[in-house]
Point group: C2
Chain length 333, copies 2
């Protein structure tokens, strides 16, 4: 792919920063040009993740045959939570920062990752959003939530995360942490323990990681056994689906949501048979708050974070063309 | 009080529609001129509440010596929930609509109250908001939430209600029902039953009405006994304060809220000793989501709904003057 505007071609950068992998994409008006992925840095100084992100962007630019200095805007989808550090966003992610949890399996003593500060040394125009907020932005631009004012993106995967939109406004909150409803308390008496320290929050009750811990095997094996009808796993997963439905109901009552779009590996593989259980937890409650609430599968699949990161900085005049050409399909190959 | 603009004086109307009383206020640039209150209509046709509201507005105008036809804009704070009925807001309030709950104590069979349709027959410019959203608007205009972008108003009274503001945007939702987080599920195993049918939601666990039902006496008596240290009531109220704190934590995690302003009769009378219990439920959780969260008492007291209703339609150029003159103080007398 080559750009066709010879005078002043605009290039966009996109980063998808997760707990296990980091992806860098460069795009122009025609669509994504190149994408490079690597395991997220876990050692070195607190600047390591930001510096790795810049290096991967430079690699992506090299693949595309352009100079990284020509990237005009950079959109970043990142794991959280965020804190404000000297006016810029830093990450305080428990599964990256060894200094937060004292987790022995992390080879660092980071207490915060100065992501925005490091990126801004190289890029003037940087927009950083929580990964589920970026995914919501992607689904609203090109996926299952186009033209939808009152909607929620939720991922059911290793963890549980949400991106929230009310009255057409995507919610950020004071530090950009709106949507951390995976840490909403649902069960007062539960012994299900979340990585954040909560007992009985959504993530403790529902996430793949926590089901794996409680079920004594990997989440994929638990869900497969449950689908085949093995009693213990079936009960564990059905209870999780009920809790997940209660969490969506809580958000519908709180935000007067019309549509939930559900992504993540659990829903992608098992939404077909879990959906009825989830719907029941919503539809069985006060009709004024629940009538007409819809559940839909996410449309952008595994690339939702990369596309979402691009959407954070996408010129509005590109959007219409991309809706038709869907140029991100090239990344999936 | 007389208006000073001889050419085209603007009058505003305000309605506070509650489950037990309905208040109508008329105001001009100098402030509220008159206020009339009556028990909310419970018999007649489904139009009765809307027609009563118009009649009370006319009475308030008569007191002020003006013609009700000169009311240019009408702000309405109303109990909910709302539904959309032919493009306008109708109320489906369980404690007003006898046809919803089949409650034998309501002398009507209403299934919805066509509030907006009836008011619009007389007033062209009508803004209707849930009562806690109106209260939030009032506190943001003249109370404890001025210049605050990420804030929540919560009332702890007979029921539990919320008004939500994120990034400076007051959340409405698809039918204006955002903030019904009193019906958020908190306890999976609880037998506390809410009027909406939920078990273990915030209102079932915390509201004055539900504590009264579970404690076998009026809520005021329960709180008074608890304050004096009577063991059973003390336990009941302390548990309620913990649940209330968990509800605020859930909203802080979901919306990344900075300030909660708390109103309602329970907090007004007992916030002094309950606050530490509530704070503990927030401050004991993940610092990235809870550090710096503040609790403040509501500033506008019993008139918050009336002031809030006025604020829904208040010209912005009046706001500065009213901040100084606080003309609503006259209503308190």
């Amino acid at each position: 792919m080559r750009h066709t505007d010879a005078m002043a071609p605009i290039y966009l950068g996109a980063l998808d920063i997760g707990g296990t992998k980091l992806a860098a994409t460069v795009a122009n008006v025609s669509g994504p040009l190149a994408r490079v992925v690597a395991p997220t840095a876990r050692s070195g100084s607190e600047r390591a993740v930001g510096e790795q992100a810049i290096a991967l962007l430079e690699q992506a630019c090299a693949h595309a045959g352009i100079d990284a200095r020509r990237i005009a805007r950079l959109g970043v989808s990142s794991c959280g939570p965020f804190v404000a550090a000297g006016g810029s966003i830093a990450l305080v992610t428990p599964n990256l920062c060894g200094g937060l949890s004292g987790a022995a399996d992390l080879p660092n003593d980071w207490t915060r990752i100065p992501l925005e500060a490091v990126l801004r040394e190289r890029f003037a125009d940087v927009v950083i959003r929580n990964d589920c907020i970026a995914a919501l932005t992607g689904e609203r631009s090109f996926g299952a939530l186009q033209e939808e004012a009152d909607c929620v993106y939720v991922t059911w995967s290793t963890g549980i995360g949400f991106g929230l939109c009310v009255d057409g406004h995507i919610l950020l909150g004071k530090h950009g942490n709106a949507g951390h409803a995976g840490h909403m308390l649902l069960s007062g008496q539960s012994d299900a323990l979340c990585g954040c320290g909560n007992r009985g929050d959504v993530e403790a009750l529902v996430s793949g990681r926590n089901l794996g811990l409680r079920g004594g095997q990997g989440a994929a094996a638990i869900f497969a056994a449950a689908r085949q009808g093995v009693a213990a796993e079936r009960l564990l997963v059905e209870q999780a689906a009920h809790w997940f439905g209660k969490a969506l109901y809580n958000l519908a009552a709180t935000l007067d949501t019309r549509v939930f779009v559900i992504g993540g590996s659990v829903w992608m593989h098992h939404g077909d048979w879990l959906e009825a259980l989830v719907r029941h937890e919503i539809a069985s409650r006060l009709p004024a708050l629940t009538a007409g609430v819809e559940l839909k599968p996410a449309a952008l699949g595994a690339l939702v974070a990369d596309i979402g990161a691009l959407c954070l900085v996408l010129p509005s005049e590109w959007r219409r063309a991309w809706r038709q050409s869907q140029p991100w399909q090239a990344l999936a190959g």
